[in-house]
């Protein structure tokens, strides 16, 4: 049964599966991986704008498409890592439909989860099939029974900006709080039934903020990355790092950040090999998921490329 609510409160009241762009949900429902009442946000007004927020930052409606987000001049100028990340998601046809909200709250790409024949821990079964099967595309780290990489490229970029989200039925929250900690495999995100993501709020962008995004995949475009990184930094007048944040995805079931390691780079020139040493030391030597352990060796490279892109070298558009 499909519902076409006309307001967020109506949408919230149904407590069904929320469809915004529908690019992934359509396919999951068709395959019988997921089901239940369908709540389509098509007729809910006010979710697809980009504009100033009371906090002084920029509010992006949850139903803003990734195409609009990536090409918005304010975002490209002020939050470039987010624009670049959004531009790398899927392909042009997908970005024309896929929304920021859907990108944040989407289901993981695990092949086992997406086969109706496996009832894994994420679907209420007892185990993770990837752990005893093919975990090459999974995560070297574990922070819960599920070892599927977090699927959201945009979440990664929002983390380096310290973005917040507006959720109907709750206060302004930070991004990690809606992603959850990944401990409960059934939890794709931490929104409760009836909670509807309505907007993402970016804090004000300082002048001269630099950002970059990079991913490692087999194809040039349009593939879920093995690992991906977003960085954001400011340089002092002498060209050294004044402030720094970075995040990496693909190595744990939630995007990872290292605030202490980022702080340790302050005062270094971005090209200083010591920065690369920091990147190389982020992950522990011993990694629980051996089949995916190689990904740890992809992390320094992807961060370096993202950093170079933030500095205007090696430009990339997805």
């Amino acid at each position: 049964m499909i519902h076409l609510p006309r307001s967020v409160s109506e949408a919230s009241a149904v407590r069904g599966q929320i469809r915004a762009g529908g690019t992934d949900l359509t396919l999951l429902r068709r395959r019988g991986v997921t089901g239940g009442e369908l709540v389509d946000l098509r007729d809910v007004p006010g979710l697809s704008g980009i504009g100033p927020h009371a906090t002084g930052g920029l509010a992006i409606g949850a139903a803003v498409t990734l195409l609009d987000l990536a090409s918005d001049a304010r975002i490209v100028a002020g939050w470039p890592a987010l624009a670049a990340a959004a531009d790398a998601v899927g392909n042009p046809q997908i970005r024309a439909r896929a929304t920021l909200g859907g990108s944040l709250l989407q289901e993981v790409r695990c092949a086992y989860l997406r086969s109706p024949e496996f009832t894994c821990s994420k679907r209420g079964g007892g185990k993770c099939f990837a752990r005893e099967g093919d975990a090459e595309l999974h995560t070297p780290l574990e922070n819960g029974p599920c070892i599927a990489p977090h699927p959201s490229t945009t979440a990664l970029a929002l983390l380096v900006y310290g973005a917040q989200v507006e959720v109907y039925g709750s206060m302004l929250r930070d991004v990690p709080s809606i992603l959850g900690d990944g401990a409960d495999p059934r939890q794709t995100h931490a929104l409760l039934p009836g909670e509807v993501l309505t907007a993402v709020v970016l804090p004000p962008a300082p002048a001269n903020d630099r950002g970059g995004y990079a991913r490692i995949a087999t194809r040039a475009h349009a593939e879920f990355p093995l690992v991906e990184a977003a960085v954001r930094l400011q340089l002092d007048p002498s060209g050294r790092i004044a402030s720094f944040a970075f995040a990496v995805n693909g190595i744990a079931n939630r995007p990872q950040t290292w605030p202490d390691a980022a702080r340790a780079c302050v005062g270094l020139a971005p090209s200083d090999p010591k920065v690369d040493d920091v990147f190389s030391g982020l992950l522990p030597r011993s990694l629980p998921i051996r089949a995916a352990a190689y990904k740890a060796n992809l992390v320094p490279g992807v961060l370096r490329v993202a950093l170079d892109r933030a500095l205007g070298k090696d430009q990339f558009r997805g």
């Binding site: 392909n91 490692i216 060796n297 992807v302």
Partner: protein, 900 residues
């Protein structure tokens, strides 16, 4: 085909006044229970359209099923391939993952909205695609055209003066896949359209009739066949790799509203050998209803231990895939089945042909190990799914108790008709198979496969037309793949740099199939040298592989040509010069010389950039029965044969051959293909459709003789045949290729077999250690395949083979769960194939001499062209990094391991 419903003619399609609303909704089948419909109004190609849709329906459902606009293709169901691209508010959308509800109030444009079927009515983008020959099997074409129009509009609106770069177009078309690999031509087409080359509607373009239909979305593939009262069916497949069916309960499926029938395929007690094997089939009023029913079929299984990997299958006490001899005799064949013995799950060896001096070869390797140069290693390649853009699909209709019409996406129309007639005991003329357009196949759509059989059986029982189309997940699972291989190869060279012998042993796992002939491919290169070539099958409980495009070729030449490259390094000889020394074939000698003259072989290379070279050879397969009928009359020139065009360019090649002899343009030649009612045409397997060249030449010989007689009778010249047949009845002649006849005494050395085509491939790659990525920057392919009847078709065949094998080398790898034997890729998001941005510019050169002894003079280029690509890429990787790849594809993980 009789009383097939005609395609909608856009000019008659009146959306005003709700007339279509009535027609479409009344014609639409009822929905499965629980799927309420809501009205849906939008603007379609400039006209108001009122219809309705259920909440789970997609834009492609509405367009294809309700509105019967089949120009929008459905090929992947996951928004990754772009075949279903439409414009919504001017932006390209993937209709297969766009909920129908999203169309409400929108401005929607589909391929049908861009012009008619006549060249003069077409959009500049469509004309550009035709002019640049950017159309092969055509399954991706409408989607590409739609995205290209959106880009063209933006480009023209911005009044840009620059040419769009390859990189920019790589991003613009990131959501499109062309499995034929026509990216170079598509790129040229989009560029030409953007810079305004095709603005004039009168521009003369040499177009093939099939291309015209494909570029306008009017070409009707099997999946586009719409018949009154048609029923859709879905196969129920085994979730287990090895199991015995205890019982099957279809009651719950039959309870689904709209489900018409559940038909058993596997009997109780029947054994399955792979996950995905067909168990039953469920028919319903539409595909979704049938899917809902299929999910409710409950099977009880006795699950048996399975061997899903090569190692597992060879382990002590491994479960046997074919426990009984009579079972193994019926095993599907993934290459060619030659006699061999079994030991458990191991079958073989199939050994080298007589006269190859295997003992000498082994001795040479021994000697070289002691004092010489040995290039050796264990080389592995992954399973590569054929994954044609149009999946396996069949539509069956019985018109009488013993008369069958079958539309099937098949690469072997005539063979299939014979197979069906034999199995269903139908007399002559009681079974017609039609495949007017075939959206690719690479050798995997040959036989009476289970979905075809199920459609035929259900159609008989239900007394209604039945369609069965595999979805992308099924296609990746059982549609057919190139078998994974493991080749132990050693190449011996003397300290003086002479090639002494080659020993190759290949283990190939075609799943529950046999027929590996990988090592045998080495017979054709360095032909006079001593060789020991053994092939083994390791059968496993995984879906049967198929003989996909040049089966065994790319894996074998990867091993062999890597070993040659190694020897060249060890001998400090230029790799091209070494091949020139070792390979006596005169055609390849010519190609080596041409390759050596390439400017980009010279000069310093930046760090991370490398150049690799590899050679290959591939034998032609001929079909003596191949026949062509040529007719000239008041209507012009008509060429007919029962062969099909699965993207290899059969229509274009025939048009070129006939046009040349009759002195007309290719556009004036109508080519009718893809029906078993026509004269016999060969399958699109092993390049056999090239047998039609000689058949057409023979038909033309006869036709021209008849015209000469007519000219003598009426007075006039043969060259003026138009006036000779202008008034009278058409003149027609049939030609047959006939048995192979070797002309003797041609000045070619023993080593050169005129039936073997040649290739030399050079690539330049860039290895980025930070992103663990290999990018092919450019390619050069020199092909020796005799005369080239159609240069544009041959060029696009070569580029296609290059792109497909680039996929094998760098990204394509079917993944199967070891424990369950289940395929872990469901769509083109998981199973990645090269896109436009992954394909480099490829220069193509033909050496046309050296095959004059072959009837028709023209060998297939599609198979040979790609066999050396993986080796060339691997050698270029070595040149760039000093590390030698022995395992493909070179995914980031493997690049990382190599560079560590």
């Amino acid at each position: 085909m009789p009383d097939e419903r005609p395609p909608f003619d856009l000019s008659r399609r009146v959306f005003l006044g709700g007339s279509l609303l009535g027609a479409a909704v009344a014609g639409a089948p009822a929905r499965a229970a629980g799927a309420a419909e809501t009205p849906l109004d939008f603007t379609l190609n400039g006209l108001p359209c009122a219809t309705a849709a259920g909440g789970e329906e997609t834009a492609v459902d509405v367009l294809r099923r309700r509105l019967q606009l089949t120009g929008t293709k459905e090929a992947c169901g996951s928004g990754a391939c772009g075949a279903c691209t439409i414009l919504v508010g001017g932006r390209p959308h993937a209709a297969c993952v766009t909920p129908a509800t999203a169309l409400a109030g929108a401005e929607v444009r589909t391929i049908e909205g861009f012009g008619g079927t006549a060249l003069a009515d077409m959009h500049p983008v469509q004309r550009a695609f035709l002019a640049e020959d950017a159309v092969r099997c055509g399954a991706c074409t409408p989607g590409f055209v739609v995205s290209a129009v959106a880009f063209y509009d933006r480009y023209r609106a911005a009044q840009r003066k620059d040419e769009p770069s390859r990189e920019e177009l790589g991003r613009v078309f990131a959501g499109h896949l062309c499995r034929c690999g026509a990216y170079d031509a598509i790129l040229r087409g989009v560029t030409a359209a953007c810079v305004g080359v095709h603005e004039a509607r009168t521009s003369a373009i040499p177009v093939r009739p099939d291309a015209l239909a494909k570029v306008s979305g009017q070409a009707r593939y099997t999946a586009d066949i719409l018949l009154d009262g048609m029923v859709d069916a879905v196969l129920v497949r085994s979730p287990y790799a090895h199991a015995r069916l205890v019982s099957l309960d279809e009651h719950a499926a039959l309870d689904v509203e709209g489900v018409k029938r559940v038909l058993r395929i596997l009997p109780d007690g029947g054994r399955v050998r792979y996950a995905g094997q067909e168990v039953a089939v469920v028919a319903g009023i539409d595909r979704r209803t049938a899917e809902a029913g299929a999910r409710r079929v409950k099977a009880q299984w006795e699950v048996l231990p399975a061997a899903t990997t090569m190692e597992g299958a060879l382990a002590r006490a491994a479960p046997l895939v074919f426990p009984a001899r009579d079972e193994s005799a019926d095993a599907p064949v993934a290459g060619q089945r030659l006699p061999a013995s079994w030991a458990g799950n191991l079958r073989g060896p199939v050994s080298t042909a007589l006269g190859a001096r295997p003992r000498r070869a082994n001795l040479a390797v021994e000697e070289a190990r002691a004092a010489g140069i040995v290039g050796e290693g264990v080389f592995r390649t992954a399973a590569q799914a054929a994954a044609p853009l149009e999946p396996h699909v069949a539509v069956a209709r019985w018109t009488e108790e013993d008369k069958l019409e079958l539309w099937a996406s098949t690469e072997a129309v005539q063979e299939l008709a014979t197979e069906v007639a034999t199995e269903y005991r139908l007399g002559a003329g009681r079974c017609t198979v039609v495949a007017t357009y075939v959206g690719g196949g690479s050798g995997t759509k040959r036989h009476l496969t289970p979905e075809i059989r199920a459609a035929i059986d259900l159609a008989k029982i239900l007394r209604a037309p039945v369609r069965i189309q595999l979805d992308r997940a099924e296609e990746l699972r059982v549609g057919g793949a190139r078998a994974p291989t493991q080749t132990e190869l050693a190449l011996a060279a003397s300290p003086e740099g002479e090639l002494q012998g080659i020993v190759s042993r290949t283990y190939s796992s075609a799943g529950a199939a046999v027929g590996n002939l990988c090592s045998q491919a080495a017979r054709h290169l360095y032909a006079t040298k001593a060789k020991d070539l053994d092939d083994y099958d390791v059968v496993t409980h995984t879906p049967p592989a198929v003989p996909m495009r040049a089966p065994g070729g790319p894996p074998l030449f990867f091993a062999l040509e890597t070993a040659v490259d190694h020897a060249a390094r060890a001998l400090s000889v230029d790799p091209l010069a070494l091949r020139k020394r070792w390979d006596p074939d005169p055609v390849r000698q010519l190609l080596y010389d041409q390759a050596a003259a390439l400017p980009w072989l010279r000069g310093e290379r930046p760090p991370g950039v490398g150049i690799g070279i590899a050679a290959g050879a591939w034998p032609a397969e001929w079909d003596a029965g191949a026949s062509v009928e040529v007719e000239v009359g008041p209507e012009g020139v008509l060429v007919r044969t029962g062969a099909q065009d699965a993207g290899e360019g059969t229509a274009g090649i025939l048009a070129a051959v006939v046009a040349q002899r009759l002195g007309v343009t290719e556009g004036e030649v109508r080519v009718e293909l893809g029906s078993s009612a026509l004269v016999y045409g060969p399958p699109s397997i092993g390049g056999r459709t090239m047998s039609l060249v000689a058949a057409a030449e023979r038909a033309l010989d006869r036709l021209l003789e008849d015209l000469a007689d007519l000219a003598a009778e009426k007075g006039g010249a043969v060259e003026q045949w138009r006036s000779l047949v202008a008034a009278g009845p058409p003149v027609r002649a049939i030609g047959r290729r006939g048995e192979k006849v070797r002309e003797i005494g041609l000045p070619r050395p023993l080593a050169a077999d005129p039936d073997v085509a040649s290739v030399v491939t050079v690539v330049k790659v860039e290895v980025d250690p930070r992103l663990a990525r290999v990018r092919v920057l450019s390619g050069w392919v020199g092909v020796g395949a005799g005369r080239i009847p159609s240069l544009s078709v041959a060029r696009s065949q070569v580029v296609a083979a290059f792109v497909q094998n680039l996929g094998l080398a760098l990204m394509e790898e079917r993944r199967i769960d070891d424990l369950t034997g289940r395929t872990l890729q469901h769509d083109f998001v998981d199973y990645v194939v090269p896109g436009l941005a992954d394909a480099p510019p490829v220069e193509v050169v033909f050496a046309e001499g050296g095959h004059e002894g072959v009837r028709g003079g023209a060998l297939d280029v599609g198979e040979v062209a790609g066999v050396a690509v993986p080796a060339a890429i691997a050698n270029a990787f070595f040149d760039a990094t000093g590390r030698r790849p022995v395992r493909l594809p070179l995914t980031p993980k493997r690049v990382l391991e190599l560079l560590a």
